[in-house]
């Protein structure tokens, strides 16, 4: 019991503290590639601190959904984060359904975000909500297929089992089915974290926004919660991707010296993935909105191929 609590506390700490850092690193790397200096990797922490100490403006037309959403989004994301293996194969929280629960917890957050976008009564919020729903309706199935491919290999949808099966098979990702699944999940990651070429996290143009348009009316602590939740979600999805496919350095349990080594490996792999994201974002323009479904259709096809090839090879 005590061990469980310690694990949970440790992973919670990691999620809360590490997520703004990942965002900061990605932004700084991007700035450097764009010949800018950038505000430094600690800026997301300063932003959160600033937002938490500010007052809020809440639209007159908003209902309870507007005030509930930041909490729902924040806690559902945290909960999902506790259910994935980060440092050790054993996830601290092994609730019902494993990976399916993770997907649906993230889905719950998104559902409330889309509702609050419309609830605020601003025209941009509704625009963002409708776009987000279109994209997630296509991204979720692709994500499922990719995850199922991995789950079939492990014989379980429990993330602990999946990660456990991966340990010792470091080079398994070279198998065709795993490569397809990896590619599918990478595309989903880009769509879900709102990165170029699907969404542009740095734009000020309301008419082109997806995720940012939904949270346009939020300010102060609520905005801080949503920004933080977005960072955590990004960390969760990135960790899911790297630990399912590159299990290098993943420890069997959270305890002993292994944990330090595990955290070191996690940071290294996150940095590598961040570099890949930054390169992709810098080298590409944003897609035309109506082409995003095509990209996600590719992800879905790759996911299907992955699933089929698990039975073939």
């Amino acid at each position: 019991m005590m061990e469980r609590l310690t694990e949970n506390a440790a992973q919670l700490f990691l999620l809360l503290v590490l997520s703004p850092l990942v965002t900061g690193v990605i932004r700084t790397l991007k700035a450097r590639l764009q010949t800018r200096r950038g505000p430094g990797i600690l800026q997301p922490y300063r932003d959160l601190q600033k937002l938490f100490s500010k007052g809020m403006v809440i639209p007159e037309t908003a209902s309870w959904i507007f005030t509930a959403t930041p909490w729902v989004v924040f806690f559902s994301t945290i909960l999902a984060g506790l259910m994935i293996p980060m440092v050790a194969a054993e996830a601290p929280l092994g609730l019902f359904g494993g990976v399916l629960a993770v997907i649906y917890l993230l889905g719950l957050g998104r559902f409330f975000l889309a509702l609050s976008g419309m609830d605020s009564g601003s025209s941009f919020g509704g625009l963002g909500s409708s776009r987000e729903m279109t994209i997630s309706a296509l991204a979720e199935p692709a994500m499922m297929l990719a995850i199922f491919t991995v789950a079939i290999g492990a014989g379980s949808t429990g993330l602990t089992e999946i990660a456990g099966a991966a340990i010792g098979q470091n080079w398994r990702f070279l198998a065709p089915s795993q490569m397809f699944a990896f590619a599918a999940l990478s595309l989903v990651l880009i769509a879900e974290t709102g990165r170029i070429p699907v969404d542009n996290p740095d734009t000020h143009l309301e008419l082109t926004m997806i995720h940012e348009a939904m949270i346009l009316e939020y300010s102060g602590p609520y905005l801080a919660l949503l920004e933080w939740a977005a960072s955590i979600k990004q960390l969760v999805l990135m960790t899911l991707l790297i630990n399912c496919f590159w299990p290098f350095g993943l420890q069997p349990t959270w305890f002993g010296f292994g944990a330090v080594e595990g955290i070191g490996w996690l940071l290294g792999k996150l940095l590598l993935l961040s570099c890949a994201i930054v390169l992709l974002e810098t080298m590409n323009a944003k897609m035309r909105l109506f082409r995003v479904p095509e990209l996600l259709a590719v992800a879905f096809t790759l996911g299907s191929l992955a699933l089929i090839s698990t039975f073939l090879f």
């Binding site: 991007k30 590639l33 764009q34 010949t35 800018r36 025209s123 941009f124 625009l127 409708s130 776009r131 170029i196 070429p197 542009n200 740095d202 734009t203 000020h204 143009l205 309301e206 008419l207 082109t208 810098t282 080298m283 590409n284 323009a285 944003k286 897609m287 035309r288 909105l289 109506f290 082409r291």
Partner: protein
């Protein structure tokens, strides 16, 4: 007087009172009555003429009438034709041309709002330049004092045309926008993402600039002209100075003419580079914008070195330019441009190599050539849609009489080609500056100051980086102006955006808008 006017006089004997050419290449045709539509139609049909601008003037105190001026540009003829139609003060109304010539839609309504002259038969005679909630005043009439304080506005707000249908709704955007841009209201009627119809509302930054001109000594009015549209400070300043110089018959020294041409081209290069970067930025290709910002900075630095101002303010003056250049400064132009040319070419290579960018820009926001010529679109936007106009070539001024250069014209009319026109023009401008630097004559840089004779009128047109800028002045007593009409290319081109966005998706609007990059301040004045 040429054959053209002989014919014109014969044909419209009843209507024409006199024809004169007091300023070279500017023929003023004085009519007997307020109806200019017959002759205007004749010009448009017979000579493929283009109606450049329409404006009014209050001469009630002196002559008991208002005047409406119609400025025409005939193909292959460098002379401007200006129809001058008197409108009696006791019956302030003139027949509208807007139904057949949508290009004058807003300009005729400006006359309505500012002078209280009714545009009879206008298809949409609602307020435009003064918003609906303004009281019933006409600020450009001479009997409206500049220091008038109006009561708080309590009138009705503007009503937008509603859109109906299953899943059809409005997205109001503005008037205040994100980022550092000026105010303007955009009302989109959309069916999901595709745009059905866009309604524009401008004139949120109406400053009464044309009224202000009437109360300033001319040497100070130059600064006012420079602030009409901040990104075209030098072009507007030059257009104003030339109008006054032509009216007063001041000969600008050759050196100043060439210096002005160099600075006009520098302004064009600076803005085009910024726009190329900004268009890439709006489709999320940030790296191109970063490079464009770097290259533009070199031009801005050169500007500062040449004039003391990064945006070329305070340089142009009546009779020439305010300060001369030393040899080292002229040499710096050449060396800086060599770097700019090379770096800009690299930037273009990056842009052309990016398929994702190309996919976003191609066939986005198409303005068809027939629409463009019908709406009277000018400048970069026009040339990307087959409107082959360039004041530098068609009505050469300053040193452009001695320069030859290409005018890029494309037919496709999409965002990509509006960017292409800019890219081509940067290269042309660099060549123009090179030629100008080698031919820069020695001599004075400014004509000696002299009093400006009153009662003279003149028109001047300058090809700013965005398109044709037209100024028309009437000089007054004591080195002041009676009237100054300012036409920025933006007022022609806003309807082009309405046309270009139709059928596109809302998410593409920002980049379409950016590809036109019109001036709010220049429109609103």
């Amino acid at each position: 007087m040429t054959l053209f006017f002989e014919e014109l006089r014969e044909r419209f004997q009843e209507q024409i009172r006199s024809v004169d050419e007091l300023v070279p290449d500017q023929v003023t045709v004085l009519l007997n009555g307020p109806d200019a539509t017959g002759i205007a139609r004749h010009f448009l049909a017979e000579y493929q003429a283009r109606l450049v601008t329409v404006f009014a003037e209050d001469r009630v105190k002196e002559e008991g009438v208002f005047y409406n001026y119609y400025v025409f540009d005939r193909r292959d003829d460098a002379a401007w034709v200006i129809l001058k139609a008197p409108i009696p003060a006791d019956h302030p109304s003139f027949p509208s041309l807007a139904a057949e010539l949508p290009a004058v839609n807003w300009q005729e309504r400006e006359i309505q709002d500012w002078f209280g002259l009714e545009a009879a038969g206008h298809p949409n005679p609602r307020r435009v330049a003064l918003h609906d909630n303004w009281p019933d005043v006409h600020p450009l009439r001479k009997d409206f004092p500049l220091d008038t304080v109006l009561p708080p506005f309590e009138g009705e707000r503007h009503v937008y045309r509603p859109a109906h249908g299953e899943g059809v709704f409005h997205i109001p955007v503005g008037p205040v926008h994100a980022g550092i841009i000026e105010p303007g209201h955009f009302d989109f009627a959309v069916a999901g993402e595709p745009i059905l119809y866009l309604q524009l509302r401008m004139f949120y930054t109406h400053k009464g600039t044309e009224k202000l001109f009437e109360n300033l000594p001319i040497h100070r009015a130059v600064f006012l002209a420079e602030s009409i549209s901040g990104d075209s400070a030098f072009s507007h300043g030059t257009a104003f100075c030339e109008a006054v110089e032509r009216a007063a018959g001041i000969a600008v020294p050759a050196r100043a003419q060439w210096m002005r041409a160099i600075l006009l081209e520098l302004e064009r290069i600076e803005n085009h580079i910024a726009d190329v970067g900004a268009i890439a930025n709006d489709v999320g290709f940030v790296i191109a914008n970063a490079h464009a910002g770097r290259v533009r900075e070199m031009v801005l630095g050169l500007n500062e070195m040449l004039t003391g101002s990064r945006v070329l303010r305070g340089m142009v003056a009546i009779g020439g330019v305010r300060r001369d250049w030393q040899r080292t400064q002229v040499e710096a132009i050449e060396s800086t441009l060599a770097v700019v040319e090379r770096e800009f070419r690299d930037l273009v290579v990056i842009l052309q190599a990016s398929n994702s960018t190309r996919h976003r820009l191609e066939r986005t926001g198409i303005l068809r050539p027939e629409k463009a010529s019908k709406l009277g679109i000018v400048g970069v936007a026009g040339r990307a849609s087959g409107v082959d106009l360039d004041i530098r070539r068609d009505h050469p001024y300053e040193a452009y009489r001695h320069l030859s250069f290409n005018v890029p014209v494309y037919q496709a009319g999409d965002v990509r080609h509006r960017m292409k026109v800019r890219i081509d023009e940067v290269a042309e401008s660099i060549q123009i500056i090179r030629a100008a630097v080698t031919r820069l004559p020695e001599g004075p840089h400014r004509a000696p100051a002299q009093p400006i004779p009153p009662g003279r009128c003149a028109l001047s047109a300058v090809e700013g980086w965005r398109g044709e800028i037209v100024h028309w002045v009437r000089t007054g007593e004591g080195n002041c102006l009676e009237r100054c009409k300012v036409k920025d290319p933006s007022i022609n081109n806003w309807p082009a955006i309405v046309e270009a966005v139709e059928g596109n998706i809302v998410a593409d609007f920002p980049v379409i808008n950016k590809s036109f990059n019109l001036s709010y301040s220049g429109t609103d004045r």
